[in-house]
Assembly symmetry: C2
């Protein structure tokens, strides 16, 4: 399969300054970007698309979410964090079945695909159901079976979640021509005992795994960990070997300077979730400082119960303005850094080689934004247009691994009507 | 002209808690909402629309913008405020002609109408051109001729801008069946001498006018005013009579407690512009505190040069999460307050009676959001969906004074293609 994209204006992510170049032609051969240049190669194409009036950029990476929580969109909105979690969220989660997770993952896939997200790092129940949806949808994802161990005396060998995590890895890691990867996951410090974290971290290391963790989301978490163990969650995880593998930590709102140094030295990536952290009143990660330290910063929406959507354009927008506002410095975080966070840095978090850029030899994960809307005109500075002006709805093409998943409002791999029907069924049962 | 809107799910703004009610039928008679109820009145309608699967809410009020600055969208993005203003913005503004303002106002009208904004408070050059566009488009707006007086010795009688402001008021206030209102406007403390402010404020009072002011946007403005006059800008304006009329102040980022008390006591409304203030590194207005004081808080996008769009959904979203994040309190600002800020409170700023709510006897300023998108499903809490989940692109109907301006992607009063052509012409000349 060869696709020619003609007359492309392309955002070139990955550099210190993201730039845009026009008049380019792109040849996608199966899943790979084979050629980018001013000339059109003299060969036969299965499909030719004129991309005039559109802006192409790498597909977006949502590096921390609980995708099927879209079924809980808006539940308990406005409640304080603890009431939100214990009174609103947990009672619904308690009723979730495999079928719900399937429907929720599909709804999330529709939302992400139509908003330009090509890959996500997921952490939720029944991950096999999400895996099926990922494979069917044509998206990429890093899924995991989160390990929790609420009983302080539980032994690792009795923790069935560890066994499930290992089994998930063996069954699905690398499926779909590598579109599906399986990460390891300690849910959080406050939901796991130390012996389980230690043993599980060793397993992760043995598989050369990638560890996904909730870290330092709230003052409460930080304070209670210090009360319990005498150290911060970051130090606690480090001492138990959780950062001995590749690892990425969502939130990182309340890290101490020493915590940040630990993460930096261990090469742990940070996933910034500004909407969720701010909406729940937790604060926000000072990514400007982390970027200055040279850490890898990616973006995530968190779940739709605390966001309340999976819109990476909204997340880019928020991440691009809040730090300037809080630091009273118009140059604290710039648009290029935010585009990199949402693309190449995310690919790095997910350990995906040759992903996150539009470049020859890279995976063809390309999205196009229509510029034919009032709010995208004039497009004097495409980088700034993407970060500050665009909406997710501007996405008119989503291609993942060379396959078109969405074009001009149509989903090409998923049946929107059937999914909406299944979602209604789940919602009816969950909230009856 | 009678329009029946059937099967409506309606957000009821204006109360302490905004609620939603379904199964309603709405009769719009000319410019007025004549009836809302469960029954369908037995009469003849010129048009009947089934609103199933949509969410209706009052049209949005953008209470501080410089609409035709859409022509400068993205210019100087990422520069520090002073460089942005002096090196990037002013040189382009210097070239703006009446034709540019026409094209810019039209582009802004397209963006606002398609994003659910029915009315805006504008402050920019050549306001007559914007007035023409407002009248043509079917929108509402409060326009003004901003008064500046850079020469500290300039006398009011020599300030031609005052004369122009008065003339604008006489010519246009109340035009288009009241859709167009003309406000008075002192641009800012740092661009006006005191004798001009004093004299102009008296003129405003004599006309029973409404005063639009930039106030306390930056630390620098506050500090330099104190150095120059020994008082803050708020006290300075108050002492010169600027708040003797109805008045509204944009920004209010760095008010002292005493300043806030003055504004409260003088009944001055505050227009919160979170994106612009944060993006430019100025900070943000602590609206949670002002709301607790009982002040009238509305929302604005500011100009697209510092935003970089006129998207009131983005503004609602930002205003709804940043205060919670900054104050580390999930209940600092709630969704109902934000919907009221964007609707009824804005109508109050613009001194528009019977506007900003969907209620019998009110002006028919109604927008509908499609719920048939993945990110709006499930819609368990419509209030929360509007503030936290929606995008401007969800707007599928914009009605102002009973006239449909936009429906399912089509503009019914403006010629998008012709406007886009004119915009390109202006842009080419401005940036050649």
């Amino acid at each position: 399969m060869k696709i020619l994209l003609k007359n492309c204006l392309v955002l070139q992510a990955g550099g210190k300054t993201v730039t845009a170049a026009g008049g380019l032609n792109i040849v996608v051969h199966n899943s790979i970007i084979e050629y980018i240049g001013k000339e059109i190669p003299d060969e036969r194409f299965d499909s030719v698309k004129d991309m005039s009036g559109k802006l192409l950029m790498p597909g977006l990476y949502n590096c921390h979410t609980h995708s099927s929580m879209v079924l809980l969109r808006g539940v308990g909105s406005g409640l304080p964090l603890n009431d939100w979690l214990f009174k609103a969220i947990f009672p619904v989660e308690d009723k979730l079945t495999e079928d719900d997770i399937k429907a929720g993952s599909e709804l999330a896939a529709l939302e992400m695909i139509s908003g330009g997200t090509v890959s996500f790092s997921d952490m939720y129940f029944f991950p096999k159901k999400t895996a099926e949806v990922v494979l069917e949808s044509g998206m990429k994802a890093n899924i995991c079976r989160p390990v929790q161990s609420f009983d302080p005396d539980e032994k690792p060998e009795n923790c069935y979640r560890i066994a499930e995590s290992e089994a998930l890895f063996k069954e699905y890691n690398g499926a779909g021509d590598g579109r599906l990867l399986v990460d390891f996951c300690v849910h959080a410090e406050y939901t796991c005992n130390p012996q389980v974290v230690r043993a599980y971290s060793e397993i992760c290391r043995n598989y050369n795994g990638n560890m996904h963790i909730h870290l330092a989301e709230t003052e409460k978490e930080q304070r209670e960990c210090i009360e319990k163990y005498g150290v911060t969650p970051a130090k606690w995880f480090d001492s138990l070997g959780a950062f001995d593998s590749d690892a990425f930590a969502a939130h990182c709102v309340v890290l101490t300077e020493e915590d940040a140094e630990i993460l930096k030295n261990r090469g742990v990536s940070i996933v910034h979730n500004p909407t969720s952290n701010m909406k729940l009143g937790s604060g926000f990660a000072p990514i400007s400082r982390y970027m200055d330290m040279g850490m890898n910063i990616a973006l995530g929406t968190d779940g739709a119960a605390s966001n309340n959507n999976l819109d990476m354009f909204e997340e880019m927008h928020l991440a691009s303005v809040i730090h300037n506002g809080f630091m009273r410095n118009a140059t604290a975080v710039n648009a290029s850094e935010i585009i990199n966070a949402a693309t190449v840095n995310g690919a790095k978090v997910q350990r995906r080689a040759k992903c996150g850029k539009i470049a020859e030899g890279y995976r063809a994960d390309i999205i196009a934004l229509s510029l034919d809307t009032p709010h995208m005109q004039p497009c004097l500075d495409p980088v700034s247009s993407v970060v500050y002006s665009a909406q997710a709805s501007d996405v008119c093409l989503t291609m993942c691994d060379g396959k078109i998943l969405y074009e001009n409002g149509e989903f090409l791999t998923l049946d929107k009507e059937r999914i909406m029907f299944d979602v209604k069924k789940s919602v009816k049962r969950l909230y009856k």
